[in-house]
Amino acid sequence: MAQSARAGGRRTAPYAFLAPAIVLFVIFCVVPIGYSAYLSLRKVQVKGLGLGLGSRTEVFAGLDNYRTALSDDELLSGVVRILGYGLIVVPVMLGLALLFALLLDSAQVRLSRFSRIAIFLPYAVPTVIASLLWGFLYLPTLSPFQGILGDFDPFAPSTVLYSIANVAIWGGTGFNMMVMYTALRAIPREMYEAARIDGCSELGIALRIKIPLIIPSVVMTGVFAIISTLQVVSEPMALRPLSNTISSSWSPLMKVYTDAFARNDLYGAAASSVVLAAATLILSFGFLRVVGPRAFGGES
């Protein structure tokens, strides 16, 4: 009797320990996602002129909202724009981060503590503040760089993408550098010594030993960078009021926000966000599938 009770306890104990995490996960992840999915299948139906109180009812819409979302030109051009933005931000930001991490890790560098903090500092500036800060630098008549800028307008239709990417790179490089730098510090020093004895140069060590060994962290920062690219919203939102060139559907998430809160179409916005979440999952897993086996080798 006692024996079986103990066995039962053994079976339930893990769940008891997991319960708090599961409860939080359900409340803050599963329920909101479920509610979004539910909303995405609904729509509003107006009776008559729609002016009397209570003339609006919520009805089942089937897949209408998804049809609209998938055939929406603005959402599509937002996605295309963001892909271009990602092609700039991800390689430049990770490239710089890797470069800085390798430089800081090399034996010769001076002031490494100070440089590390200086490069990391922009990450500590909230995105909205960073965007406004850059926005003011970009505005021709207010910018202290007025003379240098000359006729160059960072808010022109052809340059605005780079201006926004610049804010993201400025803010994100430090964090990614930190992740890579930490991975570099974990590499046993003896390896470098062995390489040096074999006649390897510092550059050779960086390219043939350091980079291959920290590939898992580079891949991880890559996945995070791709996700945050698809979710870019703070920078363009904060810069939008300063110029005519950033539309309310500049990025896919801005389009979702505008639909939900400016156009008051929560249902369409819910459908678009489900579509976006699916796209994010596909892209992230796709990236992992392509680079994962090479990066993690024997691990999985």
């Binding site: 803050f28 992840c29 909101p32 996602i33 509610y35 979004s36 909303l39 729509k43 509003v44 139906q45 107006v46 009776k47 008559g48 002129l49 729609g50 002016l51 009397g52 109180l53 209570g54 609006r56 003011f136 505005l139 021709p140 008549t141 207010l142 991880m220 996945v223 996700i227 979710q231 009021p241 300063l242 110029s243 005519n244 539309s247 309310s248 559907s249 998430l253 979702v256 926000y257 505008t258 939900a260 809160f261 400016a262 156009r263 008051n264 179409d265 929560l266 916005a269 819910a270 966000s273 976006l276 979440a277 994010t280 999952l281 992230s284 897993f285 992992l288 994962g292 993690f296 691990e299």
Partner: protein
């Protein structure tokens, strides 16, 4: 691998959660109405209106109003609609006239006919019809009106030898003359960020964007009158004789303050904006009626203008309606609204009251400011707003911003029309 997938899923999930979760906090503590003291919340953005609210609180210990400046203009519409759906809207809020049909259609405002129906005689017919939407139901109490007029820098007009334009043709010529004399100066700017400004200019030209026949709506955002206005401004933008930057930006503030912009077609509440954005130009501005489309005419439109509405969520409708009535009809309160918040009151008594005898501090150089303003206010054209002004306004911002480089404003107007009528059809309105 497993761990990493979980991270990715959780991240993707948080994206969704961020999009769908509306704030659950800040729920109103429902004070029991029967036991005496009532607590009300009020969202507005009129400058310094909290000081007027404070006076109510001192005089009415049993009904305490907590003021909160949550957002301005269109952003507040967004907040109210969301809060109302979540069941935690404030008891009272500032509702611009153009947004009221949207609020009514979304069940965000309470029917206060019983509490405030008796106030009808205190307002001009035009103002009252804006809060009843032409019906017998009262949805809000008018607070101020925003007849448009022409603000210009008298000193700089003299310096550059410009005269106050009487017609829009003259306006276009003046813009060209000025820009030739000094390529760094502009007569004004076309703001693709201010749909309310544009609709006011369109009203002056006789536009009618929404109409009702039977139980169906007529939508004509791109009617002939509006097209005329859009083409006129598009032409100026194309020629480059006016500035293209949006209003209400740091750059725009600087342009007003340093004399880059010489005039501003705005509304009667302009002194509040000018005095806070360009304080050093006090005493240099003057007002005149807007330029006209036909010489000798005398018409204007309205930019904004607000009412005070009681939300459908409010548990204290009677007390809230009482505050709204006091705020907008009590002589002491309306005097404060003029002096402190610098608005042009909607109540008839207040318009001829003592507060409007002296010009605003910023316009000391024009002692007859309110006399001129009152004459202009009398020429404001009526206008019916539809139940999805938010959609139309959002479309304005995007379509006109996009059209700024080319100046092809006619096409932008067509986009607004399509956007507006498509949205109405999608929601089940009958659109003819």
């Amino acid at each position: 691998m497993k761990m990493k997938s979980a991270v990715v899923i959780a991240l993707a999930a948080s994206l969704l959660a961020a999009c769908s979760s509306s704030s659950d906090d800040g729920k109103e503590a429902a004070a029991p109405a029967e036991t005496g003291k009532v607590d009300l919340t009020f969202w507005s953005w009129a400058p310094d209106i909290d000081k007027v609210v404070e006076k109510w609180n001192v005089a009415h210990p049993n009904v305490h109003v907590t003021f909160s400046k949550q957002a301005n203009g269109d952003d507040l519409v967004t907040k109210i609609l969301t809060a109302s759906k979540a069941g935690n809207a404030p008891d009272l809020f500032q509702a611009e006239y153009q947004a009221l049909p949207t609020y009514v259609s979304n069940n965000a405002v309470a029917d206060i006919t019983k509490e405030a129906g008796g106030l009808k005689s205190k307002f001009a017919e035009g103002a009252w019809s804006l809060v009843t939407l032409g019906s017998d139901t009262v949805y809000a109490i008018p607070q101020d009106s925003g007849p448009m007029m022409y603000y210009y820098r008298a000193d700089l007009f003299e310096k550059y030898g410009l005269t106050v334009p009487k017609t829009w043709d003259e306006f276009a010529q003046q813009a060209e003359t000025l820009h030739k004399k000094d390529p760094k100066k502009y007569l004004t700017n076309f703001s693709a960020a201010d749909p309310g400004w544009f609709v006011g200019l369109a009203q002056q030209a006789g536009a009618s964007w929404w109409g009702v026949s039977g139980d169906s709506w007529k939508v004509s955002v791109n009617d002939a009158a509006t097209k005329k206005v859009a083409d006129f401004w598009g032409g100026l933008v194309q020629k480059g004789t006016i500035d293209k930057q949006p209003s209400y930006t740091p750059k725009w503030n600087k342009a007003l303050a340093d004399g880059t912009l010489l005039s501003w077609p705005s509304a009667v509440w302009g002194p509040g904006v000018l005095s806070s954005n360009a304080p050093k130009t006090a005493g240099k501005w003057k007002i005149a009626p807007l330029p006209q489309w036909t010489a000798g005419e005398n018409k204007t439109g309205s930019w904004g203008g607000s009412s005070t509405a009681v939300s459908a969520n409010s548990k204290h409708k009677a007390a809230a309606a009482e505050f709204a009535a006091w705020l907008n009809t009590d002589p002491a309160a309306t005097t404060d609204l003029v002096k402190i918040s610098q608005i042009y009151p909607a109540a008839s008594d207040a318009q001829s009251g003592p507060a409007l005898q002296t010009a605003p501090e910023f316009f000391k150089n024009q002692p007859d400011f309110y006399t001129v303003a009152k004459q202009i206010a009398g020429t404001a054209q009526g206008f019916t707003f539809g139940p999805n002004v938010n959609v139309t306004y959002a479309a304005y911002k995007d379509a006109f911003s996009k059209a700024i480089p080319s100046g092809a404003f006619g096409g932008a107007l067509d986009t607004m029309q399509t956007s507006t009528s498509d949205d109405m059809k999608k929601n089940g309105f009958k659109v003819s």
